[in-house]
């Protein structure tokens, strides 16, 4: 069906036709016609952020927590360049978002016009795909294709650059059709390879599931299948930062997160396993440690929808290209049809070994004295919120790792964090996006004071839309992770890792009309957290914590999984010259 309308109206119509109900944006000269079209309709709610970076992270939080693509609308030039960090973040974490940017009119492109930037040029390496639309008649098909590309295969961010004259001009609007584009990624895995994996599973003596964000991106059905498979095989399971929640933290087979700040038992199991079943993870350097020592005695299988993830870093013995949900379904079928076999005696011995590692209790800590340990703060937050309908976002740094270690995630899509890019300033706007998608749920951003300040302007957004997001700030007056690395690597010379001139967070909250809570005494913590939870509105929780606490366990740079530093380890000389060049 074809209808006549302006380009600006097409944008709104396409969003409606694609099922979008919320967008995040910031107006400017080159998107005024689209904002005018938004003004004249009631289908789509526009959330006015305070900075374009906030719009993109909010859209990421919305997308990650709802399994729907997030949408942003920003203006040309600085609007577009401010979106670049969020686009890159979404690219590295495979989050489906659609960013619409205004552009100067087509006849002014290339003249260094006011607020002109080569947006498609700048964003080409940080989007899955992008388009500059020069004709209004082409706009609707590009808009629909953008949704198809962002959400198909390995999800990712896309950008559409729309010159202002294209927004004003009238043209033909076409409703969405099933995509006829060439881009149709493979979702079904090769059954021969799947059978090969099943054979390996039947024989494995020390098997391990290593799961990642791909399970969550594949949708809730994939998480369900994963739980069935883990339950039926009794294999242990660990997950990357991005995959937390796909398998419940309370599950019997859960070893906790693996990687640089992962749990001892998870990393030791990775090192010692004889069959590694990678499901939707990408052998990130935070996971592998030093490549040459990575899980030296295992057969490695990898299920990934992106062929480029296979053999990129780690050579894989059984590669399976396909969507996690589809492949797990076939895997279950094949495994069941062959008699649901595992080497249960050997797996039992494997569990005995794992139980010994678990007995070390690598996350234990002692809260004593009158200073709150960050681990204690998160343990109390966990205890007091775990029965809530809860969503957690984080900023980036020590607090992020502690949150991953001390909070338990029972379901997918409940944990929003910047994994690949490590974007400080992600968590607060992401929490706003999550709350927009889940108005009745408890949304907490676990933050550090330095990260939080990077997008603090979004407190205005939270107030304007009455979004009761809880900002749980572990305030150590330090860039904690930077400080930790300086302690380990740079002779305790704390160059610029000290948060000088911090604001009074309670007054800051009050300046925006929000509630501020200060807590510095462990004995007051529970009551203060309850006060935060009971307040119907945004809360800035300034939790003053131990300033020089290090985040452990830790695999030092350049070391293997079985060379972890535990909490009480002597950290001097833990990283050698070769490791120190790594990030």
């Amino acid at each position: 069906m074809t209808r006549q309308m302006t380009g600006a109206e097409m944008v709104v119509q396409a969003l409606i036709d694609q099922g979008v109900d919320t967008i995040f944006g910031y107006p400017g000269g080159a998107v005024l016609p689209i904002y005018d079209a938004i003004f004249q309709q009631n289908h789509i709610k526009h959330v006015l952020v305070r900075h374009e970076q906030g719009a993109v992270h909010a859209a990421e939080g919305y997308a990650r927590s709802t399994n729907k693509p997030g949408v942003c609308l920003v203006t040309s030039g600085p609007g577009a360049t401010n979106a670049v960090t969020g686009l890159t973040d979404a690219l590295l974490d495979s989050i489906p978002i659609i960013v619409l940017t205004g552009q100067v009119p087509t006849f002014m492109i290339g003249t260094d016009a006011f607020q002109e930037a080569d947006t498609v040029g700048i964003t080409r390496p940080c989007t899955k795909h992008n388009w500059l639309v020069k004709e209004t008649n082409a706009l609707s098909s590009v808009l629909h294709e953008a949704f198809h590309v962002a959400t198909s295969g390995r999800p990712g961010p896309v950008l559409i650059d729309i010159p202002k004259d294209v927004q004003f001009a009238s043209g033909n609007y076409n409703a969405p059709q099933p995509s006829t584009s060439h881009y149709q990624p493979t979702v079904k895995g090769d059954i021969t390879s799947i059978t090969e994996l099943v054979e390996a599973m039947e024989k494995a003596e020390r098997p391990l599931f290593y799961t990642g964000g791909g399970v969550i991106n594949s949708g809730p059905a994939a998480s369900q299948l994963l739980r069935e498979l883990v339950g039926a095989t009794n294999f242990p399971i660990t997950s990357t930062l991005m995959g937390l929640g796909a398998y419940p933290a309370s599950g019997d087979n859960w070893l906790g997160m693996l990687g640089m700040h992962g749990l001892y038992e998870a990393n030791m199991a990775m090192h010692g396993c004889d069959l590694m079943i990678n499901i939707g993870a990408r052998f990130d350097d935070r996971i592998t440690g030093v490549i040459s020592e990575f899980s030296p005695n295992s057969t490695k299988a990898q299920i990934d929808i992106d062929p480029s993830s296979i053999n990129k870093v780690i050579r894989v013995d059984i590669p399976i290209v396909g969507d996690v949900g589809h492949v797990l379904e076939d895997l279950m079928k094949v495994w069941k049809s062959r008699g649901r076999k595992t080497n249960s005696a050997a797996v039992g011995n494997w569990w005995s070994q794992i139980k010994e590692w678990q007995a070390i209790e690598c996350l234990k800590f002692t809260q004593q004295g009158k200073v709150i340990k960050p681990q204690y703060a998160l343990s109390r937050l966990e205890a007091l919120t775990k029965n809530h309908d809860r969503y957690i976002t984080t900023e980036v740094g020590q607090h992020q790792m502690w949150a991953a270690q001390y909070l338990g995630f029972e379901d997918p899509n409940r944990w929003m964090t910047s994994g690949g890019l490590g974007t400080m300033g992600y968590g607060f706007p992401a929490s706003i996006g999550v709350q927009m998608g889940h108005p009745e749920s408890l949304v907490i951003n676990v933050a550090g004071e330095a990260s939080w300040l990077m997008n603090m302007q979004e407190l205005g957004t939270a107030m304007q839309y009455n979004l009761p997001v809880k900002q749980f700030i572990l305030n150590n007056e330090r860039l904690g992770m930077v400080r930790q690395w300086q302690e380990l690597l740079h002779g305790e010379r704390y160059s610029s890792s000290w948060s000088e001139s911090l604001p009074d967070f309670v007054k800051l909250a009050e300046a925006f009309g929000a509630k501020g809570i200060l807590c510095s005494d462990p004995d007051d913590l529970d009551e203060a957290i309850m006060e935060m939870l009971n307040h119907d509105g945004p809360v800035l929780f300034d939790c003053l914590v131990e300033k020089h606490e290090n985040c452990f366990p830790m695999i030092p740079s350049g070391k293997a999984h079985n060379e972890m530093l535990l909490g009480d380890a002597d950290t001097q000389g833990a990283i050698d010259a070769k490791g120190s060049v790594l990030v």
Partner: protein, 186 residues
């Protein structure tokens, strides 16, 4: 890739030997990449190579199907087998890339390049340049009393050889198109 420090055969249980056994030897591969002929597509391909640190030895691009809006990019690249596999996979991820063919591994192929050479000189050198051009089946496409412009087509090695011979005879300027390649047979 050598900085990955991968040990070969680290695992007795590993089925590495069932898979392509990646070596550290740098190979030269010719890739034919079929792309949608849309603005920016070449920038996407080049940006991929620059951004991920891959090598480009030569690159040619032209539209080959106006109706179907298809262009063919021929890239000659070098890298370890693992790097080459990764290059192909990364090219395949680009939304507007339709197909990636590795002509080096997909069977015999023909590679051709066109080059034009300006050779300035007189006397014996000029005669020798003309004689060698004849041997190489190069055509004279421009001539003055003191110079020739030769046009030559052939495999890159042939053009390299011709350039080596022309250098002492007064070679002053070269323009090469880069490699165009097709698989042999049907």
């Amino acid at each position: 890739m050598s900085d990955l420090n991968l040990k070969k055969g680290t695992s007795a249980k590993s089925a590495y030997n069932l898979r392509p056994n990646f070596s550290d030897i740098v190979e030269r591969h010719t890739l034919a990449v079929m792309v949608e002929n849309e603005p920016g597509v070449l920038a996407r391909v080049i940006g991929l190579f620059a951004g991920r640190g891959y090598n480009i030895e030569s690159l040619t691009v032209a539209e080959i199907d106006h109706e179907g809006k298809l262009s063919r990019i021929t890239i000659v690249t070098t890298g370890t087998p693992q790097a080459i596999e990764q290059i192909k996979a990364q090219l395949g991820r680009i939304v507007t890339v339709h197909d990636v063919h590795d002509l080096t591994v997909e069977g015999p192929s023909v590679e051709r390049e066109l080059a034009i050479f300006k050779v300035v000189g007189d006397g014996d050198k000029r005669v020798e340049a003309l004689r060698l051009a004849d041997i190489f089946r190069a055509n004279v496409v421009d001539s003055t009393l003191k110079s020739f412009v030769f046009e030559i087509t052939g495999a890159p090695e042939k053009i390299d050889a011709f350039a080596d011979l022309m250098r002492p005879l007064g070679l002053v300027e070269v323009a090469r198109t880069g490699v165009a390649a097709l698989s042999r047979g049907i």
